[in-house]
């Protein structure tokens, strides 16, 4: 083992040590510097190619973007940030939507826990796909309804559209 190889190896070790530190810092960036949001001019063009791809081949795009797209979702003007209970036992309550997805069901592991006789344990989930909230029914017994129609496939939820789960109605608002 020559001196030179050892020198290169030991400098590479130091470099990799710092790479490790910075990989963690990079993964943590939203935590350290806050959400990258409210920059509409930057956000729109970045989101546009994804939207085009999604409309061309919805199934393929969905399969590709969901596991791959780890970037924090860009908050554009049309993305909902709140979920408001519009009717049902706790009318008027609202919650801030999380970054990527929200589980709905009777299980206490869900983000939105609805405990009534019509709700399944893991009933449905809301997911943010390409800046748009999409609801997916998780094979619930009594179904999930968007604007009165029962959904079986992941369905986009536009702002202000009533969603019904059990006895509870809610809608997404900005």
């Amino acid at each position: 083992m020559s001196e030179l190889t050892l020198l290169v190896l030991r400098l590479a070790f130091l470099l990799l040590l710092w790479v490790f530190v910075f990989v963690i810092v990079y993964t943590l960036r939203t935590d350290l510097f806050g959400q990258r949001s409210r920059r509409l001019k930057d956000a729109q063009p970045a989101a546009a190619p994804f939207a085009a791809a999604a409309s061309a081949a919805p199934a393929a795009a969905a399969a590709l973007t969901e596991p791959l797209d780890r970037r924090p979702p860009l908050a554009s003007e049309r993305t909902a940030h709140r979920l408001v209970i519009t009717s049902g036992p706790r009318q008027g309550m609202e919650l801030q939507l999380p970054e990527d997805q929200l589980a709905i069901g009777r299980s206490s592991e869900s983000g939105l826990v609805i405990r009534d006789d019509y709700t399944s344990t893991h009933h449905a989930r809301l997911m943010l796909w390409n800046d748009e909230w999409v609801i997916q029914d998780l094979d619930s017994t009594n179904g999930t309804f968007v604007d009165g129609a029962r959904v079986t496939l992941p369905t986009p939820v536009p702002l202000g559209t009533p969603v019904t789960i059990g006895q509870t109605n809610f809608e997404l608002r900005r």
Binding site: M1, L6, L7, L9, R10, L11, F13, L14, L16, L17, W18, F20, V21, V23, I24, V25, T27, L28, D31, R70, L83, I85, G88, P89, R90, M93, L95, Q96, P98, D100, L102, S107, S108, E109, S110, G111, L112, V113, I114, R115, D116, D117, Y118, T119, S120, T121, T141, G166, Q167, T168
Partner: protein, 467 residues
């Protein structure tokens, strides 16, 4: 209760595990590559040490280190099943620090020609393995951190007993002047290391209930609200016990650690600066009195303030060790001499108390800062977990446990670099020492458990009525 359970009866353990593994676990997928990166780094560090120090690679040691990495992967799988929402950074950081420590300890083994089971590096690997197994058992056993709140007084009792155990004649042992060891059936153990976890649990549980009486009442003096005399009880008890450690166990570092932990937790719980000022005044007063009365504290102060005078340097128990450590780090300079190529063995206790100086010599300032950066990330994740906590107990416990690590790193690194007087404490997960490894891995795992319960908490619960 669940729909599946109604249909197929109680789900068996294996089906629960497969169901859990099938769920998308975004955080665990972040953790896996980092963990593999860390494993590569620790095997690489070991290989570099052997290349640098003896010119050839010993496959046996590399295999042992890789085995530790496999244990880390086992921990990853356990997390996938048992705590899928736990923080993804703690395990890789702790494993990397542990591995770097092992590499440096075996480097010193090579220098001192220790082989086989006499080698501290091999012992350290075995201890790390045991510590990780114990820690993962703790992770599986504690499904919810709130259970700990119920046992806060038992935790206090355990903590104080562990703290005072080395003073029992028969099992207590004096090593290098400090009486902090016990020896049972051939094994040495430092019970004070585990005591810090027990005390953090007690402080968190106690402060949740006592917070109001500690923060709301009292009289204002000089613009600050000072507590009532009768509320001073706990702080006096903790002060007294840390002074007992200082005087009778002759361990400045441990005493500073416990008292600092209590002060920070009481400050976080009550948000009142007066507690910190009172506590600091008490501690500085006690330490000053001790430095007058106790010769070993006096020696530490002199070795710190006047390290380079030949008289102090040459004295028995003087500043020889500290100064050799500083010379080593100076020799390392910016990029270090390279792993296995320096002479850290000159410093006494280079594998435990002075591991930071040894690493500073061989990895240089750049490498040492990376290590401190890793600690910073570890502690910041801990604070973040505490900050995100839903219940007060979890918040305080998260802050307390991560502050223990932060304070310990500060005391050790500060002592070695002559910022504060040198005290004998271990660098968490880096330095040689079985009890310290067990305790710090348990801290890491408790933080993992806390972070999982924090994230799994529902945001809104709707209690519906029947039809």
């Amino acid at each position: 209760m669940t729909a599946t359970a109604e249909r197929s009866g109680v789900p068996s353990l294996t089906t629960t595990i497969t169901l859990k593994l099938r769920q998308p676990a975004r955080l665990r997928n972040v953790e896996l590559p980092l963990l593999l990166f860390a494993i590569g780094m620790i095997v690489g560090a070991m290989a570099l040490v052997e290349l640098g120090a003896q010119g050839s690679i010993d496959a046996g040691m590399l295999g042992l280190v890789a085995g530790l990495g496999v244990l880390g992967l086992v921990g990853h799988v356990i997390l996938r099943v048992s705590a899928p929402e736990a923080d993804p950074f703690l395990l890789p950081i702790a494993l990397l620090l542990n591995g770097i420590g092992i590499a440096e300890i075996s480097r010193l083994d090579i220098a001192a020609d220790r082989n086989g089971w006499d080698a501290f590096g091999v012992k350290q690997i075995v201890w790390s393995g045991m510590a990780m197994v114990i820690a993962f058992a703790v992770l599986v056993a504690f499904r919810n951190h709130r259970i700990l709140q119920r046992y806060r007084y038992i935790a206090m009792f355990t903590g104080l007993v562990l703290l005072l155990l080395p003073m029992l004649p028969g099992i207590g042992q004096t090593v290098n002047g400090a009486r902090v060891w016990i020896r049972l059936a051939g094994f040495s153990f430092q019970p004070g290391e585990l005591a810090k976890i027990a005390l953090a649990v007690f402080f968190a549980g106690y402060l949740v209930t006592a917070r109001d009486s500690l923060s709301m009442v009292g009289r204002t003096f000089l613009g600050m609200r000072f507590p009532r005399v009768r509320d001073l009880g706990p702080i006096l008890v903790i002060w007294a016990s840390s002074m007992v450690v200082l005087v009778f166990q002759r361990d400045l570092g441990t005493s500073l650690l416990y008292f600092g932990l209590f002060l920070v937790m009481i400050y976080v719980a009550t948000a009142r600066l007066s507690w910190v000022l009172l506590g600091l005044a008490l501690f500085v007063g006690g330490a000053l009195a001790a430095s007058r009365l106790l010769t070993y504290v006096q020696g530490r102060f002199q070795g710190w303030l006047d390290a380079f005078s030949p008289q102090v340097y040459n004295r028995q128990g003087g500043s020889y060790q500290l100064v050799q450590g500083i010379f080593g780090m100076a020799d390392g300079g910016l990029v270090g001499t390279g792993l296995g190529q320096g002479r850290p063995q000159v410093t006494p206790l280079a594998y435990s108390d002075f591991i930071v100086a040894s690493l500073g010599e061989e990895l240089g300032l750049i490498g040492l800062f990376a290590i401190i950066g890793l600690y910073l990330l570890l502690v910041s994740r801990g604070f973040r977990i505490g900050f995100n906590g839903q219940d007060d107990f979890g918040r305080l416990l998260g802050v307390g446990l991560s502050f223990v690590i932060a304070l310990q790193v500060f005391i050790v690194v500060g002592g070695v670099t002559r910022v504060i007087p040198l005290t004998g404490l271990t660098t968490p997960v880096l330095a040689a020492g079985g009890s310290s490894l067990v305790a710090n891995w348990i801290i890491v795992v408790l933080l993992l458990r806390l972070s999982d319960t924090v994230r799994a908490h529902p945001r809104l619960v709707l209690e519906g009525s029947g039809p």
